[in-house]
C-alpha cells in the first residue's frame, strides 16, 4: 500500500468482573482496591496506550432469584475511580461507560466536564442505554424506558450533554481583579431544552473544559444504531474481529459518516478483544485453552446457556450434548441483569446447535467457544502482526484490549507486543499531545473550538426534536 502507515489506537479495558475475569489464578489480584486500577492504568500508560476503559453494571446478576456467586463481582463507581486514576497518570485517556437511562444529562454532563478539567482534557464517555426494569429496581426512577425509546433517549441525551458542554464560551471567564469582573457575561452556561425525553433549562456550572467536548464512544450494529453512531460518535465499538466482515463494517460506517456531513475518518472504529501470549504458537494455544476452561466451568457453562434457554439447565451434563429442549420464552427470566439477552433465542439456539454439531462440542465446549473466545492468541510477534495487519487494512483503527487477569494481565502485552508495534512505526514511541482527542487524532471541529459557534443559540438551546 502506498498510503502512510496508520497508527494503531489502543485502549485498555479492565473487565474486573464476570466470568471472563479469572479469579482462581494465583496472580489474580483485587478487582476493587485502587492499587489494581493504578497498576493497570500506569502499565497502559507505560505502553503508550491511548486510553483506559471501564465498563459498567448497575445491578448484580441473578439466577433464579439468587445473586451469582460463581463470578467476580464488585466494582467501583466509574467516574470517581477515573478521577483518582487521573492523579497517577499524565497522558492516558480516561473513558467510562455510563448509562443514559439511569442518569440525567445535567448531572452526567457536569461530571464528565469536571473529569475533563481534573484530568487536563482526558475524559471520554462510552454511551450505553438500558431498558431493563430489573436494573431499574435500584433507582428511584425505576425501569421506565421502553425498549424502542432507548435510542431516542440516548440521542437526545448526547445532544443535550454537548449543548451543556458548549454552554460556556471559551472566553467566558474575564477574571479582571482590578475591575472586579469574574464573568464576561451573566449568560455563561445558560441553556434551554425541550424534547421528548427532557424538558430542562437553567445554567450549567462547569466552564468549557480542556477538550471542549469530552470524547464520545458508542456501539452501533443495527442500521439505526449505525446511523446514530456515525452521526454523533467520536469512536465506535466494532463487534467484528474477522477482517472481511470488519472491513465491510468499516466501509459502511465511514460512508454513513460522510452522509452525515462529517469528514471521512473522523470516527474511529475500535473492536474490543482479549489476548493471550505464549512463547510459541502452540504454547499460546495451550494457555488459551487453559484460561477458557478456567473462565467457563461446567457450572458457568450451564448458567451462560440458561440466559438463552431461559430454563434451569443444572440437570444437563456440561460434558454432554446441548439441551434438547426449546428455549422457554414465556416463563419468568431465569437469568437477570446480563447486558444482552438475545432478541430471538430460537435463532441463537439453532446457530449453536449447528456449531456444536459441526465441531462435536459438548455443552461446556460450546459455551467456551461462544463466551470464552480470546480474540488474539499467539506469540508476541504473531499478535503484533495480526493487530497491525488488521488496522493497516482498515478492519479497524485500533483495539480496546483486556486480559483475563486483573490487574497485571496487561503487563505482558506492554513488555512484549508494544515494542514490536513501536519498531514498525505502528504505535507511538512517546505521547505528543496532552488530551484524549490529541491521542486519538480527532480534534474538535474548528467551528466548535472556541464555543462562539453556539453563542447565538446558547439561550435557545438545541433542536427541540432530535433529527429522526
Amino acid at each position: 500500500m502506498s498510503r502512510p502507515r496508520k497508527r494503531i489506537i489502543l485502549g485498555h479495558y479492565v473487565a474486573g468482573v464476570n466470568h471472563s475475569t479469572v479469579w482462581s489464578h494465583p496472580d489474580a489480584g483485587s478487582q476493587i482496591d485502587f492499587a489494581s486500577f493504578r497498576h493497570a492504568a500506569q502499565a497502559a500508560e507505560r505502553g503508550k496506550f491511548d486510553f483506559f476503559f471501564l465498563a459498567e453494571g448497575l445491578i448484580l446478576r441473578e439466577r433464579l432469584g439468587q445473586i451469582f456467586d460463581q463470578d467476580v463481582v464488585g466494582r467501583p463507581d466509574t467516574l470517581p475511580v477515573l478521577a483518582s486514576i487521573a492523579a497517577v497518570t499524565e497522558h492516558l485517556g480516561l473513558v467510562g461507560t455510563l448509562n443514559a437511562t439511569f442518569n440525567e444529562p445535567y448531572e452526567l454532563a457536569r461530571q464528565l466536564a469536571s473529569l475533563d478539567h481534573l484530568s487536563g482534557g482526558r475524559a471520554g464517555w462510552n454511551v450505553v442505554t438500558s431498558f431493563d426494569p430489573f436494573t431499574g429496581q435500584n433507582f428511584r426512577r425505576g425501569g421506565f424506558l421502553h425498549r424502542d425509546d432507548r435510542y431516542v433517549r440516548a440521542e437526545e441525551f448526547v445532544a443535550l450533554a454537548r449543548a451543556l458542554w458548549d454552554s460556556w464560551p471559551a472566553d467566558a471567564l474575564a477574571v479582571d481583579t482590578e475591575q472586579g469582573r469574574f464573568l464576561r457575561d451573566a449568560g455563561a452556561g445558560a441553556f434551554r431544552h425541550l424534547g421528548r425525553q427532557f424538558d430542562v433549562a437553567g445554567h450549567f456550572t462547569v466552564p468549557r473544559s480542556p477538550q471542549g467536548r469530552p470524547v464520545v464512544l458508542q456501539a452501533g450494529v443495527s442500521p439505526q444504531g449505525r446511523d446514530f453512531a456515525a452521526a454523533t460518535a467520536d469512536a465506535i465499538f466494532s463487534p467484528f474481529h474477522e477482517l472481511g466482515p470488519a472491513q465491510e463494517y468499516y466501509r459502511d460506517i465511514q460512508a454513513r459518516v460522510v452522509r452525515a456531513g462529517r469528514p471521512a475518518g473522523s470516527v474511529k472504529l475500535l473492536p474490543g478483544g482479549a489476548f493471550i501470549l505464549g512463547d510459541s504458537a502452540a504454547d499460546a494455544e495451550e494457555r488459551a485453552r487453559e484460561v477458557a476452561r478456567t473462565q467457563v466451568s461446567g457450572r458457568t457453562a450451564q448458567i451462560l446457556l440458561e440466559a438463552v434457554w431461559n430454563r434451569d439447565l443444572s440437570g444437563y451434563d456440561p460434558d454432554g450434548p446441548l439441551p434438547d429442549v426449546d428455549p422457554d420464552v414465556t416463563g419468568p427470566p431465569v437469568i437477570q441483569g446480563r447486558a444482552r439477552n438475545p432478541q430471538d433465542p430460537f435463532e441463537t439456539v439453532r446457530e449453536w446447535r449447528a456449531l456444536a454439531a459441526e465441531h462435536r462440542y459438548s455443552l461446556r465446549e460450546l459455551a467456551i467457544r461462544v463466551f470464552a473466545h480470546t480474540e488474539f492468541v499467539g506469540t508476541p510477534t504473531q499478535v503484533a502482526d495480526r493487530l497491525d495487519h488488521f488496522v493497516q487494512n482498515d478492519g479497524s483503527d485500533g483495539f480496546i484490549l483486556g486480559s483475563h487477569l486483573t490487574p497485571g494481565g496487561i503487563d505482558e502485552f506492554v513488555d512484549k507486543v508494544v515494542p514490536l508495534l513501536q519498531e514498525r512505526g505502528s504505535l507511538r514511541a512517546e505521547y505528543t499531545g496532552t488530551t484524549l482527542r490529541d491521542n486519538l487524532g480527532i480534534p474538535l471541529p474548528a467551528d466548535l473550538h472556541d464555543g462562539h459557534a453556539h453563542d447565538g443559540h446558547a439561550h435557545d438551546g438545541i433542536a427541540a426534536e432530535p433529527a429522526r
Binding site: 470517581p80 475511580v81 483518582s84 429496581q137 437553567g202 445554567h203 456550572t205 462547569v206
Partner: protein, 415 residues
Amino acid sequence: MMSETDPLHLAVALDGAGWHPAAWREPSARPRELFSPGYWLDLVTEAERGLLDFVTFEDALALQSSRLDGTPDDRVDQVRGRLDAVLIAARVAPLTSRVGLVPTTSALSTEPFHVSKAIATLDFTSGGRAGWRVQVGRAGETTHLGRRPPGPPLRADNLASPEVQAYITESFDETADHVEVVRRLWDSWEDDAEIRDVATGRFVDRDRLHYIDFEGRWFSVRGPSITPRPPQGQPVVTALAHATIPYRLAARAADIVYVTPHDADQARAIVSEVRDEQDRAGRAGETLHVFADLLVVLDDDANAARQRLRRLDDLLDAPLRSDAAIIAGSPAELADLLLDWQAAGITGYRLRPAVLPDDLEAITRGLAPELTRRGRFRAAYDTTTLRGHLGLPRPASRYATRRDATTSRIEAAAR
C-alpha cells in the same frame, strides 16, 4: 459528653476562592485556576500539612447565587461555576494520605444508589478517608434535572408560611430516606462477602450480600450495591443544620452536624437541642459530633485581620453576611473562642476561610499549632482513616448479625 480537656477536631470548608465574595480579587488568589486540579491539590495538601481532620468541598447542581431562593442572580462580579465535588475529592485522594475528604451532594436531585457507590469508591481510592456532606439541594436544581416540580418560591417573608414549612419538612424527610438508602447500601456487602473459595467455585458468599429492600414514600431501592463494603464500613456522614427540622435529620442520620451559633450561649442552646433530638432518635450512646461553622479572617496581628476584612468588604455593595459567625482576629484569639465554645458542648469546628489560600494557611500554620501548644489538638496524625481521626469506631454491617434470618428470607424469595 465532651470534657473540657478533650482534643478539638478541626475541618476546613473549601469553596472557590474562599468564602468572602471578593476573595478572588486578593493578590494571593488564583482565580484562573479554580477549575484546575493543581489548585485543589495544593489546598488539600496544605490542610494535611496542618493535620486537619478533613476538608469539605461545597457543591450544588446549580450556579452559585447570592439570593435566598438560589435562583440565578446574574452577577458577574463574583466567582461562578464549580466542578463536581466528589470528583475533586477523588482527584486529590491518591496524592494525599491522611486528611479526610468530604464532598457535598444534593439529595433531592440525585440517585442514592449512585451517591452510595461514589462515596464508597472515594473511600477505596483514599484508603478510608471518605466522608459525605449531604444537603437537601438548591432551589435552582429542579429545572436543571427536570424530574420533579420546583418547590414553592422561598422569600424572607414567607419562610414561616404553612406551605413553605410543609415543603421544608417533606424535603428533609425525603433527604433522610436518601441517607438511609445510601447507608444501607454501604452495609449491603458484609466485610467478608468475598471468599474466593476455589474448592466450591464460589467467589462470594451470597448469604453475605443483602437486598436492602427500601420502600419509602418517595422511592424504593432494592440493592445490594455493586460496590463492596468500603474500607471504613460507613464513610462519615455530615450535614449542615440551622434549625429544628435539619437538627432532627442530622441527629437521625449523621455522624457530624455543622451548626452556626454566634456566641457561646447560642452554642450551648443548639448543642442541647441536637442532643435532645439525638436521644429521641435512639442514638444516645453513639458519637454525634457537633461542629460549629465559623467564617474566619486571620492574621497574626488581630488588627490587620480586621482591616483586611474591611478592605474586602469595601469591594462589595454591602458588608459580608453569613449564616455562620464571622471572626476576624488572630489565631490566638480564635483559639480562645474555640475552647470557650467547646466548654459549651461544641466538639469541633468547620472553618470557612474567607480567602484561599491565606486564611487556610493561617489555620494550618497559626491556629492548629497554637491549639497543639495548648494540648488541645493533635501533634501528628495517629490514625489513617477519617473515622479514626474522629474517634468513630468502625461499625459492623447492620446485616451481619441477622444472617440466619436474612438467609432464610432470601431463600424464601427464591422459591
